[in-house]
């Protein structure tokens, strides 16, 4: 479903993606971990074309993302994304945030979009906040609205870019619960996170990145039982101790 072949990218002198090979199958949940600056976020942002790649190929859902004249918007309809800083639209209410893309991109009718948005807000557990502006929601609630907003497009792939890093401890759980449910339902997910607990329970595979490279790519159980690579071992011991 997602296929990276020898993908490279630089930010100035920084080789942020250095020969990435990675494939993700349908219904797989892949957690990407690694020290900050290792290229994790950049990696998942290339999948929906928020970051361009310089060389190599990247095929998502049958679309060669970085080929010339590719319709990125068509691709983005099927790839949902959740950001670290939520990025809800502050001038719209929670439910309007969820309705916007179905109305404008999928061209759904208003009542249909509203029903769908309401169902999703129920799914993420905050139907009572439907008419509240984002500023009146807690961080955890905002992130759950953001997840509902991404799901409203009925994506086939969901990308999570450190979805809990901006949250207080008590709110992290409510967001991870929603993500766990989603994983259980068979959504294809790529999750950049430091939440080792979530990785352990909900993911099929763990990808460890450092310095723009994928250092290790193992089934979750194997990875946590005994990471093959020294750098992964060190990183893991630090994360878990903390």
């Amino acid at each position: 479903m997602i296929e990276f072949r020898d993908v490279h990218k630089h930010f100035g002198p920084l080789h942020v993606l250095n020969g990435i090979d990675l494939s993700v199958a349908e219904r797989e949940v892949v957690v990407i971990i690694g020290p900050s600056g290792s290229g994790k976020s950049t990696l998942i942002r290339t999948i929906n074309g928020l970051e361009a790649i310089e060389s190599g190929t990247l095929v998502v859902n049958g679309i060669a993302v970085h080929a010339e004249h590719v319709d990125v918007n068509r691709l983005r309809k099927d790839v949902g994304m959740v950001f670290q800083s939520f990025n809800l639209f502050p001038h719209l209410t929670a439910i309007e945030n969820v309705m916007l893309a179905p109305l404008k991109v999928r061209k759904l009718g208003r009542s249909e979009a509203r029903d769908r948005a309401m169902r999703l807000l129920e799914k993420v557990g905050i139907p009572e906040k439907a008419d509240a502006p984002p500023a009146r929601l807690s961080g955890g609630q905002q992130q759950r609205v953001a997840i509902a907003r991404a799901l409203a497009m009925e994506p086939r792939i969901m990308l999570f870019d450190e979805p809990t890093s901006a949250l207080d401890a008590e709110m992290i759980r409510e967001v991870l619960d929603v993500m766990r449910d989603l994983a259980r339902e068979g959504m294809t997910m790529l999750v950049v996170t430091h939440e080792v607990g979530f990785a352990r329970e909900a993911s099929n595979r763990v990808v460890f990145m450092d310095g723009g490279r994928i250092i290790e790519d193992s089934p979750t159980r194997e990875f946590f039982a005994a990471p093959r690579e020294e750098r992964a071992k060190q990183f893991l011991s630090k994360v878990i101790r903390h």
Binding site: N48, R74, V79, M81, F89, P90, L100, A101, R149, A150
Partner: protein
């Protein structure tokens, strides 16, 4: 100042004369604002465009026009306006002075508004545009539904400030023979030989109109915009004023 020259300001005929001037002033300001807003929006978007052939002409327009005195632009259209439009409207076309003034003011104001609008857009957190694009909204859709509604709210104070500037700058249009407020005042004091009294009176009228506007703009709902963006847009304005 002579005490006997104040009596005229209660004369209905004189007041009507000033009233006509004020009406002309407000009409010029309104027409200029209405013309320059869409133009300013276009040039702001042009300057933000990724396409160089759109971006560079927009930058050139904005920077060149902002560097010219408004009076020069007004006088230019006052003198050349008619000939300029003759290829379009026929060889006997005569550009009314009112519109010559409006064009001069609009040209300048559109360049200033373009910068205000651009400041509003770039001060929004980058995540807003990214979130919109990630949902599959096109560039135009994300502008229309996500970026501009927020940016325009941020810009309300700066735009109202510009509107008061436009109102004051209408006084320059008097130089090409449009009878706006200040020009009406001149007509009166050259007849009654009381320039100080008339100028004081005219100042008071400008003050009342502009002060009411700036007070009104403070009460306008700035809306739900991230505070960080509000701060940034203020910084941009201050930098602009300093420059």
């Amino acid at each position: 100042m002579r005490p006997d020259t104040w009596g005229m300001f209660v004369d209905p005929a004189i007041l009507r004369f000033f009233g006509q001037g004020l009406l002309e002033t407000l009409s010029i300001a309104a027409a200029s604002t209405l013309l320059s807003f869409p133009a300013g929006l276009l040039f702001a978007l042009g300057r933000l465009s990724r396409r160089a052939w759109i971006r560079w002409p927009s930058i050139a327009y904005i920077e060149a026009i902002r560097a010219l005195p408004v009076l020069l632009l007004i006088v230019y259209f006052g003198i050349k306006g008619s000939t300029l439009f003759r290829p379009l409207f026929g060889s006997d076309f005569d550009l009314p002075r009112f519109w010559a003034g409006v064009l001069g003011l609009s040209l300048y104001t559109s360049a200033v508004l373009a910068e205000i609008i651009r400041a509003g857009i770039v001060s929004l957190p980058r995540g807003q545009a990214e979130a919109a694009r990630a949902l599959g909204l096109s560039y135009a859709q994300s502008l229309r539904h996500v970026i501009l509604p927020q940016a325009l709210r941020l810009m309300v104070p700066a735009m109202m400030g510009q509107l008061t500037t436009v109102i004051k700058d209408t006084s320059l249009v008097g130089t090409i023979g449009v009878f706006e407020l200040l020009r009406q005042g001149r007509t009166i004091y050259t007849q009654f030989f009381n320039p100080i009294e008339v100028l004081l009176f005219v100042s008071l009228v400008y003050f009342v109109v502009c002060f009411a506007l700036s007070q009104g703009s403070r009460r306008l709902e700035v809306g739900r915009v991230p505070r960080i963006a509000q701060v940034k847009v203020q910084e941009l304005q201050l930098r602009d004023q300093a420059a």
